[in-house]
Structures are given as C-alpha cells and as structure tokens.
C-alpha cells in the first residue's frame, strides 16, 4: 500500500460510513414533516431553497479560489485567496447542514421519482466526500491529485444537489422568497 492510500484509508472509511449512515437513517425512519417558522422567508421550505442557493454560489467561489491557489488563473494569486477559500467553504458547509438536517429529518431518503432519488443519493455522497476531504486536508505526504479530486467531487455533488432541488423548484414555480 503506498503512502497516499495509507493516509486516505481512515478518512475514506469514515466518509463512507457517514454516507451510508445518512442514507440508512433517511430511508428507515418515518418522515416527520415538521414545520418551523423562519424570519424573512415565507416558510422553512423557501428558506431551504435560498440557503442551498447561497451555498451553490459559494461553491463557485470555492472553485475559482481553488483554481487560483493551484496557479490555474495566472501566476499572480492574491495573498488572501487561501483565506477566501477556507471561509467560503466553511460558510457554504454551515449553510447546507441545516438544509440537509431538514431534508433527512422531515422528508427522508426518497425514491419516488428520478429527481428525488438522484438528490437523495447525491446528498449522502456529498457529506461522505466532504468528510473525506476535511480529514485528508491536514495529512502531509498525499499525492498531488488527492485534494483537487476530492474538492472537485464535493463541488460537483453540491451543484448536482442544487440543480435537483432549488433550481428545479424555481424553474417550476418561479423565484420566490
């Protein structure tokens, strides 16, 4: 086993365990359909749409700042780029956690049509891969491809989640607060 595989073993196992645990919990518990009121928004449901959309926007910031950090946007990278990447990522993550908590607790893992099935699977994978990335970040001696691949996966999964939820709802119903 080479060094990268060894370093990634525990993060990958933990990430996989989390993804499976979320999926199993979402599938076996009875959806509770709770409703709580949120200031500004007309319902918890609408708040979710906008939280997820803000996170998707920050995901774009993540992509651009990562490209800059890896020198893909030209040789001159502002010194604040890594801080921007870290903080936009943290905020995006903290925005999607409440959304996912409501999805899982209130609605559960659904498979009644392609959209909800895809969304449910992507949701479980997102938190699994995000965990792997966070646990892999501090490790030294990883192969160069590891962080770009994990980061790219997290980005694709989050955009996929947004497309199968907020974007779908806005395109069906119009943009509402």
């Amino acid at each position: 086993m080479n060094q990268t595989n060894r370093l990634l073993l525990i993060p990958s196992l933990l990430g996989a365990a989390l993804a499976v645990a979320l999926g199993v919990y979402g599938r076996v518990h009875t959806p509770t359909r709770v409703a709580v009121t949120i200031p500004v928004f007309s319902s918890l449901f609408h708040a979710k749409l906008w939280f997820a959309s803000a996170a998707a926007l920050l995901a774009l910031v993540q992509l651009l700042s990562a490209l800059a950090m890896w020198g893909k946007l030209g040789p001159k990278t502002p010194s604040w780029t890594p801080a921007l990447h870290r903080w936009s990522g943290r905020i995006a993550f903290l925005l999607v956690v409440p959304v996912a908590a409501q999805c899982l607790y209130s609605l559960g893992f659904s498979s009644f049509d392609t959209r909800t099935l895809v969304h449910s699977i992507l949701g479980c994978l997102f938190f699994g891969v995000f965990t792997v990335k966070m646990l892999a970040l501090p490790k030294q001696g990883l192969a160069g491809w590891v962080l770009p691949v994990l980061g790219g996966l997290v980005f694709v999964l989050l955009i996929g989640l947004w497309l199968t939820s907020s974007f779908w709802w806005f395109s069906e119903n119009g943009i509402k607060v």
Binding site: T30, V34, F45, F112, D113, T116, T131, P138
Partner: protein, 200 residues
C-alpha cells in the same frame, strides 16, 4: 491551522444536531391515535391482513411541500382517489394503492406517484401544469376528502374539499368546460367523506 478542518466537521455535526433537536421540538402532535409501528407498509389499515398487498382503507391529507396547495388521497380496497386544490385551481386523480405504492392519473396530464406506510403517504404530484412533492399524514373524519356532484340546469357541477385537521377546508367547484370557483363551506357534521369506490 492543522486542526481547523476537524473543527469545521465538528461544527457541522453540532449544527446538524441542534437543527434536528429544534425540528424535533416543533414536531406536530400525532393527528390520529398512534398506530403500532408497522414493519410492512401494507399493514397500514389492515393489521389483521398484514400479508395482503392491497390497502383496505385510509385517507391521507396535507399540504404540498412549499405550501399553498392542499392534497387528500383516499383509498378503499386498493382503489385510490386524490384531490389537489389551492382553493381555486383543482385536479381529481384516480388510480390504485398496492404494495406500498400509489399511482394515480387525471385529466389534462395530471399524475401522482408515491409511497405509503402506516404513518402517511409521500410522493410527487403533477396537476394544473405544475409539479409538487408532498408528505401527507393519516387523517380521520371529519378530516379527509369530500366530493359532491349535482346537476344544475343540466350542467354537472362537481365540488371537492380537502378537510385538514382543525376543520381547515380547501375546496373548489367546477362544471364541465368552465373555470372552477372556490367551494362553499362544507358542513362536515352531515357530509360523508368520499368512498373511492363511489368515485365517478
């Protein structure tokens, strides 16, 4: 700095826990007597015939995700009728409920697919040119699905009502080829919920 990704993960875990606890604290009271946790979905309303795949009798009612539109689904011996209404626009759908799945269709491309269990039904519905997802709990009379059909000057006028717990009524009336109008208040003390087998 080396620890900050772990801090992020732990913060997410804590936030998720706090949110779930908040949702749990706001959980609505059960709408009907708590049914024993059914392992088989088909045990919903026929505990004596748990092996049977056809749902004997149940009504689910609620609002679609996002609110503003009410939905009720009534089932009797596997025959299912659903009514979707926002107080003006409406759609009737008819179909089947078996093996934990409900599948209904209606006029103008309306369709509903979903799953059901002892506690409720969840799925997605397309009607009046829009699509919603929903999760509806089991309801007991006087809550439920109501329908009347009358002839007024040879025109058949059909009215439907979703009666939600707390006697909140959402209904509309329409006669063939005419735009629907809000339904009058239904007296649930005298009206009888729709039996899906009588739907016509």
């Amino acid at each position: 700095m080396r620890r900050s990704p772990i801090v992020t993960l732990v913060a997410g875990l804590v936030l998720g826990g706090v949110m779930t606890a908040w949702f749990a604290a706001n959980r609505p009271a059960p709408k009907s007597a708590p049914a024993p946790k059914a392992s088989a979905p088909s045990a919903a309303a026929s505990p004596s015939a748990a092996a049977s795949s056809v749902l004997a009798s149940a009504t689910w009612a609620g609002e679609v995700d996002g609110g503003g539109v009410s939905i009720a689904i009534a089932v009797h011996d596997g025959v299912a009728v659903a009514y979707v209404c926002d107080g003006k626009r409406e759609a009737w759908l008819q179909g089947t409920a078996a093996d934990g799945k409900i599948t209904l269709t209606g006029k103008n491309g309306a369709s509903l697919t979903g799953t059901y269990s002892a506690s409720g039904a969840t799925g997605s519905v397309t009607a009046t040119g829009k699509q919603w997802t929903f999760t509806a709990g089991v309801v007991q009379p006087p809550s439920g699905l109501y329908r009347t059909a009358q002839f007024v000057n040879t025109a058949k006028v059909v009215c439907g009502w979703v009666v939600l717990p707390g006697n909140r009524q959402v209904g509309a009336c329409s006669s063939e080829g005419q735009e629907s109008t809000p339904a009058p208040t239904l007296n649930t003390a005298t009206a009888k919920p729709l039996d899906p087998k009588d739907y016509s």
